[in-house]
Amino acid sequence: MGGETMIPKDLLINKQPAPQIHSVAEVQFKGDEKPLFAVVGDLELDSKYGEGAVYVSENKIVSVGNMFDGGFISLDFASIDEIKVKRMYGNAFLRAKTVGGSTIDLMRFTFAAADICDAAADFITKVKAGETVESRFAAVESAFRNMRSFCPKCGRKLPYPNAECLNCQGKSKIFSTLARYIKPHVGTLLICIVLSVITTVAALVPPYVTSLMVDNVIPNKDKRMLIYVILFLLGIYLAQYAIGAVRAYILRVTGDKIIADLKKEIYAKAQYLPMKFYDKTSTGSVINRVNSDTTILQQFMLRITQEAVVQFFTMFGIIVIMLTMNWKLTLLSLIPVPIVVFCSRYFGKKIGPLYHRIWRRSVSISSILSDTIPAVRVVKSFSSEEKAIGKFSRHVDDWLYEDKKVAKVSAIFPAIITFLITCGSVIIWFVGGNMVIETPEKLSLGVLVSFISYTSMFYNPVNFFANLSDSYQNALASTEKVLDIINAEPEHNFGKGSELENVSGKIEFRNVNFSFDRSKKVLNDVNFVIEPGDVVGIVGTTGSGKSTLINLLMRFYDDYDGEILIDDKNIKDIDMSYYRSQIGYVQQEPMMFHDTIFNNIAYSCPNAHPEQVLNAADIANAHGFISRLPNSYDTVLGERGIGLSGGEKQRLSIARAVLKNPGILIFDEATSAVDSETEKLIQDAINNLIRGRTTLMIAHRLSTLRKANKIIVVDKGNIIEFGSPEELMALKGKYYKLIQIQSMSEQVAAEKAAENFE
């Protein structure tokens, strides 16, 4: 050793292990041999939480952990027959099978370390198979980069490298986010506040006038003064309600503008959120946020910016007037205030979580609605109406159960607060009444009556602030949900990155690994190159990873390891919007919008000339059936294209792609759900479209791949065969078998059809 450590200081490692793990490991590396990278796991082999680690060099792997004799085990690559990650449920093993036939568990870990352990196993397997250490180490580095996208401040995982850490944004972020929507309307809201102050002052006048009436006008029987006072009061009330009406109108319009801005922004943001967000968030939840939560927020913002200000001025004005009238009674009337404040704080703590729970129940209801209403045909076809009603009722009952709890708390607490306020008035009546009886020179009846009026008015704002916590908690629950969308990381390079001069269509996958979640790896070290103009068929069994290849190429998911290149440029460096505009994507289940056929085709190119749309429909073999419809291109489709057959929708989808005129075309099982005759029409349409373009076609029916000059065979996330159809047939591998099976089944189908015909 000579005192020199064999563990490099800049070792690629996912986290620092306990020092003794490092010291056990470094003894195993001698001379110039050093580990290239290490993975620290978080479980013992017996599945308890603990620490273990593997250190990988160019030719051996050292596993360190308490479970091994001597605290480690070292295996040369040459002694390993197979090494892989065995994923289980919530945990995994890095497992090696030795040349001698024994199986050794090198490390156990939760899914936190699964991706990099996969990379480690791949590294060893490929280096053993003869690939260069440098090329394989690049793949390991890529996996670590993805793994190590942590916030340098708080250590939490970031959605992508250098993303802004939501955790490290200040608490004020919530309020500054909301303030953003109020800012454009500050002027109008200020006018409303001025109007509010006028109405508040007007509201404070009548009780004062009452004392004049009781003490002077009525006892002196001054009818002339009475008329003046009445006229004055009428004027005050008229001004108060007229100004109030104007203010209400302005507030309503301003509030609607705020909510409109909020809804627009949430919807706009939702358009740019990555597919991962939608994989984990129900449609009902998003709809709930756009509709209900924005309304709650708008109401809260107006309460804060308007009513709170008004109530504050009212409270302040009343206290000043009351103090000038009688300071002793004023102090008496303030006795219940601390109790009211204490109660309101307690109330807030109690009701906040209940609002969260109500929100969850509301989302469940929305989710059922968004799930079952579009699928009403399925419900009816299985006569499941009652079942659907029952399920919905159960969820509504759950909501009702939670809402009852809120109703109980909401009813009891304000009642308690109001009772306390009434106690304050009763105290004033008792003490003030005695004062009027015993020392009328110090307190007149008129002043007492007026004081009582002010006291009841004073508790309105107190009550308001006491109940503000209720709406605050409700708004906070909604704010969190809205910010969940507004603050979510969008697909991050819209409007960023470069554009290619023109897309010739070369596609390269380089060491690509991907999993939707860490429990199952979907693509495993995918490598292939497609040349410009190639027509490539992607085949494999269901669930083999064919569509995932396309999902990554479309950049629906960006958090894969490795690189995908178009014309030798990493697709992550290309502006997202531009990139997707270069790809025509025809899905298995084409989505149509509730709009005219013309607009549905022109969706990819909204400013298209009508003749371009007609031409696109013609190339897609769609013009014929469209022109036979009574309203032809003006036919309005039902939701999701109801009114058209599957094949017709598919041809409209192809017409969309034609109009887009992309450099790369992708067909994801475009003919899987149609009959043979329609398939031929669609196939002809596809053949018209693919000339001269790089085309990727996923197909179950291999007969649809006649035009393909290359075939990719995917199996369990691996590319097991890649080459021309002739090469793969000669290989007699999986593709050959698939062709054999399909030829036989087609023959049987043809024979059966012939028998039926006869």
Binding site: Y49, M88, Y89, G90, T103, A112, R156, K157, R360
Partner: protein, 162 residues
């Protein structure tokens, strides 16, 4: 091919390598290196256990664990416990939250651990039997068998989110 359902008392297991087992039917039929898996890992822990061979093909399904002989049941249960690692939370030690990213430090039957919950609305599910299933930011699962059997403080911290 029809599914081969068996009641469970007609087989004898030999556990190999923690999660794999050899199975012998009393009729004499033998299978090697089968991997038992739950068909209902969330809703039915002791029912419908499927046995997959090395190619992932199902060989048979045991209807109920409880139908097996106690010794055999314990062996199979051990296999399943190795495969399905769902630590049982016995106490919530700390819980911090910022912008809906929750950091929980918990005591479990497998030791103390800290994990992150990215979206507590999606990642926490309470069942009618008061069981709570939690999924962390790394797709690991945790279970609270009965929320009302936890200490009061843990209940107070968890229940408002359910």
């Amino acid at each position: 091919m029809p599914r081969n359902f068996i009641d469970g008392n007609e087989i004898r297991l030999t556990v190999k390598d923690k999660i794999f087992c050899d199975v012998e039917f009393y009729s004499g039929q033998k299978f090697e290196n089968l991997e038992p898996r739950r068909l209902f890992p969330v809703s039915g822990l002791s029912e419908y256990i499927t046995f997959l061979d090395e190619n992932g093909d199902e060989q048979f399904i045991v209807r109920k664990l409880d139908n097996m002989e106690p010794e055999q049941k314990a062996l199979l249960q051990g296999c399943l416990d190795e495969y399905y690692r769902i630590p049982r939370i016995t106490k919530l030690i700390t819980r911090t939250e910022k912008h809906k990213i929750w950091m929980w430090t918990v005591d479990t039957d497998r030791g103390v651990y800290t994990f992150e919950i990215i979206n507590h609305i999606q990642s926490m599910k309470m069942f009618h039997d008061k069981r709570i299933l939690i999924k962390d930011g790394n797709d690991n699962f945790y279970e609270i068998p009965n929320i009302y059997e936890l200490d009061k403080r843990s209940q107070k911290l968890i229940l408002p989110d359910m």
